[in-house]
């Protein structure tokens, strides 16, 4: 999978009067020129705060939202240029796991029907075969005895069990790529690692590639091979997991990593947290989007939009003043 310079601007709804007052249309620049590649078999993390554009990026990858610009290549095919029929075929090969399993499952459909729904939509097999496949899938995700879960309704299951159902549904068509949008954010703490372990087990058994979208850096550190840090619709830094955590370069990444509460009371330190909050993506700051909150910002930071530069193998950073010594420490 590769994404090249994808952009998605959402127009801002204006009232009748406002339209007369200002001629200029305003846009939320949700995804603003994002480029990255995901290798087959990889777990690629997209991390960022709310409003960073990570979920929109996920939607663009799956074609749930068409980008205004740029291309999304899946296995060499540009998904933005193909017709509906071909698109439907491609869509079978990529699936999504949503954040909130309670709203992702149809409350009035039994678990079995929920899981078999993709098979029905893509007209795979007879009703009997579909049921057999769904039962097998339930076992694969650890909902045993499968027959019992098959006839239950979503509200009878716990949060963790529901997320297993959502994963089962995403995998039933044997996709190659799964985009998981905050798959454990709504799940109980004691069950989170269970779900992550399950996802990793399934990845190995079924040869999956994951794009793992999260705001939780600890979860990302647990599963991802490479991680891209997003801020206001742009990727600021992208590196292999260990390189990112051991040698973060972008001031934003460093701040983010320092802010994560560490579950170790011996490791209490005073943190330097950047002031303020993520600005509005309607009129993002000029130049480097992080400059108003950056301790290291110099004049040129607000003038020129920095490009991603490679600092070491596979580690790219978009910071105009890099590399400089204090930061490299």
């Amino acid at each position: 999978m590769a994404m090249e310079g994808a952009k998605k601007y959402f127009p801002v709804q204006k009232s009748f009067i406002e339209r007369f007052v200002s001629r200029q249309a305003e846009y939320v620049k949700a995804v603003d020129g994002v480029t990255f590649e995901v290798q087959r078999g990889e777990v690629f993390g997209l991390v960022g705060e709310s409003g960073s554009g990570k979920t929109t990026t996920g939607f663009v990858i799956l074609g749930l939202i068409r980008p205004d610009e740029g291309s999304v290549l899946f296995d060499g095919t540009d998904m933005t240029k193909i017709g509906d029929e071909e698109f439907r075929k491609m869509r079978k090969r990529m699936q999504m796991v949503f954040q909130d399993p309670s709203s992702a499952l149809h409350p009035r459909m039994k678990i079995g029907q929920n899981i078999a729904e993709p098979l029905r939509i893509h007209a795979a097999g007879s009703a009997q075969e579909r049921k057999a496949t769904a039962l097998k899938m339930l076992e694969t995700v650890g909902l045993i005895p499968a027959e019992m879960f098959f006839d239950r309704y979503p509200h009878e299951l716990s949060g963790g069990q529901k997320q297993r159902v959502v994963i089962a549904r995403a995998l039933i068509l044997h996709p190659e790529l799964v985009v998981a949008d905050e798959p454990v954010a709504m799940v109980d703490v004691s069950v989170r690692v269970q779900i992550l372990d399950l996802m990793m087990k399934l990845k190995n058994e079924l040869d999956l590639t994951y794009i793992f979208i999260t705001h939780d850096l600890s979860a990302a550190s647990y599963v991802c091979d490479r991680i891209a840090v997003m801020y206001l619709g742009k990727i600021l830094e992208l590196a292999p997991k260990d390189e990112l955590f051991d040698n973060p370069q972008h001031p934003y990444t460093r701040a983010l990593l320092a802010a994560v509460p560490v579950p170790d009371p011996a490791d209490r330190r005073d943190k330097v947290v950047p002031k303020g909050e993520i600005p509005s993506p309607i009129n993002p700051p000029s130049g480097c989007r992080f400059h108003p909150r950056c301790d290291h910002a110099v004049e040129s930071c607000c003038a020129q939009e920095p490009l991603l530069k490679e600092v070491s193998a596979g580690h790219v950073v978009s910071c105009p003043i890099l590399p400089f010594r204090e930061l490299r420490k």
Partner: protein, 319 residues
């Protein structure tokens, strides 16, 4: 010195499916000036316990037995008028979702005016406004934001406003129920900083309710771990992290990936939290516990006090 003593407190919700024992026989003493982290996952009863202390439980929740003694007053049986004087002035609360706490149709100023109107009726409007301004500035919000509506503020600012309302009358105890769960990492760090600062400046006693082990590790002096409505372990933050005594605490700590120690193995806890309408027999954790033996299935172990101010409810530690 003990400032609040919760004693054998039990809370139930009557639902159509049956009675949910959300909190059962919880004993907890709170020391003046400490920060206690009340830890547990959703459904463990930690929020219910927090709400019960101020008797703010929404129906069908009700306290079935026990006491909560503050300043020689039992908050469970006290008159509504007495409680009204305690809420906000002596003990106050910050909730998880600031967007749901603030009234979307009221300006920030009116939130403060309403608050002062209810608690300090003698205060004039202009005095109340200037007090509110002072508070906002103290919390790092420009005072002109008083004229804004909640939707014009960012999530972090809204939570600051909620904290401002909670500390406006300099209470002695602040109950913060997942105050940073709805916020992004950087804002979370800002709000935790703010709470730590306020605690120091106002000599607050803080009850921090959270599911995030990182947040308690950085903020709490002591930790009380809840599981399925019961306290399973209480102790100093460092000693609990160093040597958890209850299998649930141990499993919980092992199930949280640590960014700083990525090589450290992470283990998941099998199974799911119990259904409290139909809880398991004996120790509520036994179906998920790797060490469970016959006794655990029969009877729930009592919360025993050990030395070093530790308390634990587990038969493994009874000898």
């Amino acid at each position: 010195m003990s400032i609040l003593n919760v004693d054998e407190l039990s809370v139930q919700y009557s639902t159509s499916r049956g009675t949910v024992k959300a909190v059962s026989s919880v004993d907890l003493g709170l020391q003046q000036g400490e920060t206690i982290g009340l830890v547990g996952e959703s459904g463990s009863g930690k929020s219910t316990l927090g709400l019960s202390i101020l008797r703010l439980l929404p129906p069908p929740g009700h306290i079935t037995s026990g006491r909560a003694i503050y300043n020689n007053i039992d908050l469970v049986t006290a008159d509504e008028a007495v409680l009204q004087r305690i809420r906000g002035r002596e003990i106050s609360m910050v909730f998880q979702d600031p967007s749901a706490t603030l009234n979307p149709l009221m300006r920030i100023r009116d939130h403060f005016l309403e608050f002062y109107g209810a608690h300090e009726p003698d205060l004039s409007r202009s005095d109340a406004t200037s007090k509110a301004k002072g508070l906002l500035v103290q919390l790092g919000i420009p005072s002109e934001r008083l004229e804004d509506y909640p939707h014009q503020l960012s999530g972090g600012m809204k939570q600051r406003v909620c904290i401002g309302l909670a500390i406006a009358l300099t209470p002695r105890i602040l109950i913060a129920d997942e105050p940073t769960t709805a916020l992004d990492v950087l804002v979370e760090a800002q709000i935790l900083d703010l709470l730590r600062g306020l605690k120091r400046d106002l000599n607050l006693t803080l009850i921090l309710i959270t599911h995030n082990m990182g947040v308690v590790a950085e903020t709490a002096d002591r930790i009380a771990v809840m599981y399925a409505g019961k306290l399973v372990e209480v102790g100093g933050t460092r000693s609990i992290f160093q040597k958890p005594l209850h299998p649930y605490t141990e499993a919980l700590l092992q199930s949280v990936p640590n960014l700083k120690k990525r090589k450290q193995p992470v283990k998941s806890i099998p199974g799911n939290p119990p259904d409290l309408v139909d809880p398991p027999s004996g120790c509520l954790f036994h179906p998920r516990c790797p060490y469970a033996f016959e006794k655990c299935v029969v009877k729930h172990p009592p919360l025993l006090s050990l030395d070093d101010n530790r308390q634990v409810a587990c038969y493994l530690r009874c000898e």
